[in-house]
């Protein structure tokens, strides 16, 4: 079946088997290997990506279900050479050890900050319920996300939906919040 998605702002069209999981579409068809497979059972969140602005586990979604949708992966965050503020915050606060969970953690954090720009610690922890980390003990990850919420949003920063390098993220034309690039809570709604 032929599907067409916006992936990090780029249109990707491909024939896929209906049984192909979205995570394998991203990794093997689009060759973006930043999205990880941890458990493959829907429990760990390493495969988290944004679909229409919402965090989902891409190992629990078929590629055909994403047809026509807008997807952002970890590769869609950095703008040109500059890191996204959430990425920067993970480095500054050492929210990374082995790094396996990190792409999923960061995507969940971006979804959170897009709907709640200044979350409480509780809200951060709640947003990470679906993301497991076997290294850090979570403390530095929570710190990093709280830190990111205070960072300069000079570049497609956490208060908006991650901006893809090549223009808008394929939302409908009647979406003034996006077109002007202003803050939009709960993007993708």
């Amino acid at each position: 079946m032929r599907i067409r998605v916006r992936l990090n702002g780029r249109t990707v069209e491909h024939d896929v088997e209906p049984r192909l999981l979205l995570v394998h579409f991203i990794r093997q068809v689009a060759r973006l290997t930043g999205t990880h497979v941890g458990c493959d059972t829907g429990n760990c969140g390493a495969c988290t990506v944004l679909v229409e602005g919402k965090a989902v586990k891409s190992c629990l979604m078929l590629a055909v279900q994403a047809d026509g949708k807008d997807i952002v992966t970890i590769e869609g965050l950095a703008n040109g050479g500059g890191l996204h503020p959430v990425q920067r915050a993970f480095i500054e606060k050492f929210g990374v050890q082995c790094g396996y969970c990190t792409p999923g953690m960061i995507m969940s954090a971006c979804a959170l900050l897009a709907s709640i720009p200044s979350p409480s610690e509780f809200e951060v922890r709640e947003a990470l319920e679906g993301n497991l980390c076997m290294c850090t003990g979570y403390e530095q990850i929570v710190d990093a996300i709280l830190h990111a919420s205070t960072l300069d949003r000079g570049h497609g920063g956490p208060r908006r939906a991650p901006q893809a390098p090549h223009g808008r993220l394929g939302h409908g034309p009647g979406d003034p919040g996006r077109a002007s690039g202003t803050t939009e809570a709960g993007h993708g709604r």
Binding site: M1, P18, L60, L112, G130
Partner: protein
């Protein structure tokens, strides 16, 4: 893990979905959020020949005020239930239960229709709709029928849904101002309930009225705690009565034991959570209740 090969059908309307199901017979399986079905397919515990994806039927996604009831389309997600101002005000039990299901990602994809159709013996929403006496609309090319939540669940992962039927709508009563609680004991936040207790009631003068309680996670299906309802309705909720009622709430129940909790431990947990749930609706303080 990859599912076995299947053909994918994505109807654009409910009519199209039901005629597709009629034509394909029981080799077809409906998919909504896929948060349970896709896992089963990856483990090859389910290998349908056809997958009929409801995700492209926008007409099944609504939360509507119907006066004394609220109508909810089967495709409404947990996240949408949790965020609905209408439900929070007029049927708070449902958003409360939805907010403790799984994790953010699961709540973004999982739907109320899928949660009920799956009939998980530890399903959180199964308990909520049962305590609410919700009505469920089942549609096929043969017509539509309404069933009460109390008639819907038949056992572990089993319901009255026929293979050619779609669960299209869930109707819950509008009960603004009623007291309600959903308390869930789980090992970690994103886990299934070891015990989940859903309760709603009115307080009439000092007495409690129309109290209904449903329990999930302890048996092969969700069930109404009739002994609790009988003991409390028409009575004032006070500590001795609550403790006495809770201590007998598992009498006659076939409580399951597994690697997560033995039958004895689960029985104990269930009594404690029944007691806490009654205290919560009675606004009676007790030993500190962790918010799970």
């Amino acid at each position: 893990m990859t599912p076995e090969r299947f053909e994918y059908v994505a109807p654009a309307s409910l009519d199209e979905a039901t005629s597709t199901l009629r034509d394909l017979g029981d080799e077809a399986k409906v998919m909504a959020g896929g948060q349970s079905l896709l896992s089963l397919m990856k483990l090859r515990l389910a290998s349908p020949r056809y997958v009929v994806d409801l995700g492209r039927v926008p007409a099944l996604n609504y939360i509507r005020d119907e006066g004394d009831a609220i109508a909810i389309g089967a495709l409404v997600t947990y996240a949408e239930l949790k965020a609905s101002a209408l439900l929070r005000e007029r049927c708070a039990l449902l958003p409360r239960a939805a907010s403790v299901v799984g994790d953010v990602q699961v709540r973004n994809r999982g739907t109320i229709g899928g949660a009920l159709a799956h009939a998980d013996p530890a399903g959180d929403l199964c308990a909520a709709v049962l305590a609410l006496d919700a009505r469920l609309k089942l549609v096929s090319t043969r017509g539509e029928r309404w069933v009460w939540a109390g008639e819907f669940f038949l056992g572990m992962y089993a319901s009255v849904l026929e293979p050619d039927e779609v669960l299209a709508e869930i109707r819950v009563p509008a009960i603004a101002g009623w007291r309600c609680a959903y308390l869930k004991a789980a090992r970690r936040p994103s886990d299934f309930a070891l015990v989940g207790v859903a309760v709603r009631c009115r307080i009439d003068g000092r007495a409690c009225a129309d109290l209904a309680m449903a329990i999930t996670g302890v048996s092969d299906r969700v069930f109404r705690a009739r002994s609790v309802e009988e003991a409390l309705n028409g009575r004032e909720l006070e500590t001795a009565l609550i403790e006495e009622t809770a201590s007998r709430s598992m009498d006659g129940v076939d409580v399951s034991g597994d690697i997560h909790a033995s039958s004895e431990y689960r029985t104990h947990l269930a009594r404690v959570y029944v007691s806490r749930a009654i205290r919560a609706v009675g606004a009676i303080s007790g030993p500190p209740t962790p918010s799970v």
